[in-house]
């Protein structure tokens, strides 16, 4: 596929060893390969590397059919690239008017212990640096809090949260010199750090508000420190939200002899989160004048094309220069403000016209609204 015709979003999923990163990735991809998903969805999720796709699908089938969890990720980080290929809608002519005709999701996975302990030798050291460089080029970071570890520390959750955030913070600090070139703060950096409760099925009484409250009650100081360290790595510190968005996740229900992969929580939020959250947030920051210079250009480079699709205009591309001049053009502001009835109308209109790209993106925005209604997602108001 022509890269310039795909809007690419990167997601970095951070979590300790055993917190469920690879299981989440396998559950996400495997579910999209099920016949029902392929029939109902307006798009196909295709792994750009067939070997990687087969591996994830095998992991998923191993869970579904044999109650086997995926192998531990050892010594190597991997970036998985997925193309979100739209089904044929109103025809190729309509697609030619679009600024892009596909989405690409790049999901970075790595061995969890890389933030918890020293590595074994020079080759692993180099791999760790390379992996974190690519992780930190993501738009959204998802930091996993492990429900099993919360349960193991019931009543003393602060012990686990302190160790989780401290390990992560120390890991980042130890890599800081390798990650920053000449000590310069990074422009490309995940600006949105969502806290995800993995294995959330283990805590069925905890909705996303209760999860947020638990983190604030038992981990606020550690989270503040993490926020400070992240802010120290990045240019335009105001354009950063760490621990302001929350999501509940469960890749499957794990029983002793069975893994029920259809009982997922929040996994269907990941694609909408990766595609829409940076857009919504970056535009809002631009409107609040929290972005300057090169940061505007970098963060809003996908906003014009995405906005054009969402509001259904034919303007192909506002371009970074236009964005710099206008900060946020009218179509971008309108698109970012699409919500409620207007959003549903836009989606119905797109569905009626078989405009699958617009229908998909408006559906993503509706999925995020639904996630909030169902209390599995909580987005920052900032």
């Amino acid at each position: 596929m022509d890269v310039s015709r795909a809007l690419e979003q990167h997601i970095a999923v951070f979590g300790e060893g055993g917190s469920g990163k690879t299981v989440l990735l396998s559950s996400f991809y495997g579910a999209t390969q099920e016949p029902q998903y392929r029939k109902q969805s307006l798009f196909h999720v295709v792994a750009d590397n067939m070997g990687q796709g087969a591996r994830l699908h095998r992991n998923y089938l191993g869970m579904k059919n044999s109650a086997q969890v995926p192998a531990t990720t050892r010594f190597t980080g991997t970036s998985y690239s997925f193309s979100i290929k739209l089904k044929d809608g109103a025809g190729a002519k309509a697609m030619k008017d679009k600024p892009f005709d596909a989405l690409r999701l790049v999901w970075h996975d790595y061995p969890g212990e890389w933030f918890e302990q020293d590595v074994s030798g020079p080759e692993e050291t180099q791999r760790r640096v390379d992996t974190f460089r690519s992780l930190l080029g993501s738009d959204v970071a998802l930091l996993l809090v492990d429900a099993q570890r919360l349960l193991d520390n019931a009543g003393q959750e602060e012990r686990y949260l302190k160790s989780l955030f401290a390990n992560f913070l120390n890991g980042l600090l130890s890599l800081k010199d390798d990650l920053l070139e000449d000590g310069k703060p990074l422009v490309e950096f995940p600006r949105i750090w969502v806290l995800g409760l993995s294995k959330s099925d283990l805590l069925p009484d905890l909705d996303v508000f209760a999860f947020r409250d638990l983190l604030i009650e038992k981990g606020a100081d550690d989270l503040d420190q993490l926020r400070e360290v992240l802010a120290g790595l990045v240019e335009a510190k105001d354009a950063l939200s760490v621990g302001e968005d929350f999501v509940l996740l469960s890749s499957a229900k794990f029983d002793t002899d069975r893994i029920e992969v259809t009982e997922r929580i929040g996994v269907d939020m990941i694609l909408p989160l990766a595609a829409m959250l940076p857009f919504e947030r970056h535009v809002r920051w631009a409107q609040a004048k929290q972005l300057q210079g090169k940061v505007v250009e970098t963060l809003l480079r996908g906003a014009g094309p995405l906005a054009a699709v969402l509001v259904g205009t034919k303007s192909r591309f506002l371009g970074p220069v236009g964005l710099l001049l206008n900060i946020v053009g009218p179509s971008v502001a309108e698109a970012a403000g699409l919500a409620g009835d207007k959003l549903r109308e836009a989606n119905s209109e797109a569905m009626a016209k078989q405009d699958n790209l617009r229908a998909t993106l408006t559906r993503f925005a509706m999925d995020l609204d639904r996630g909030e209604e169902e209390r599995i997602l909580l987005r920052s108001l900032r």
Binding site: G18, A71, R74, E113, Q117, S120, E123, E124
Partner: protein
């Protein structure tokens, strides 16, 4: 050079606990396990190359069924070289030959909160 051993503890993650090779064990480990990374049990004989001698890649689950903190049975990965590898022709034979060489070491370290150094 006879053995490279990689495993994990209950709380610490995957790392090399024994490295009889000179230098960094990871490139050798990668060469041995290339293409069979995800299998839960492995016996694989790898032919010698210009850079590396003939070796056997061996993986089996912890014989005592010990699990990590996420509940996964701990795997043990070995790269076996030289005469030690000569009569290994299956996972089972590999387990019988190799496990007694490291069992006591693992018993000593697997519950430690932090990982021990290689050859420690």
């Amino acid at each position: 050079m006879s053995l490279i051993w990689a495993t994990r503890g209950r709380d610490w993650g995957f790392r090399f606990l024994r490295n009889d090779a000179s230098g960094d064990p990871l490139p050798v480990y990668d060469a041995a396990f290339s293409g069979v990374e995800d299998a839960s049990e492995i016996f694989c004989r790898v032919a010698a190359t210009d850079a590396l001698p003939a070796m056997v890649a061996l993986r089996f689950a912890d014989p005592a069924g010990r699990r990590d903190r996420a509940g996964r049975v701990i795997p043990h990965d070995f790269v076996v070289f030289g005469p030690l590898s000569d009569d290994i022709d299956s996972v089972e034979v590999g387990r019988q030959r190799i496990w007694p060489m490291v069992a006591d070491d693992f018993e000593r370290v697997w519950e430690l909160p932090k990982p021990p150094p290689a050859n420690g």
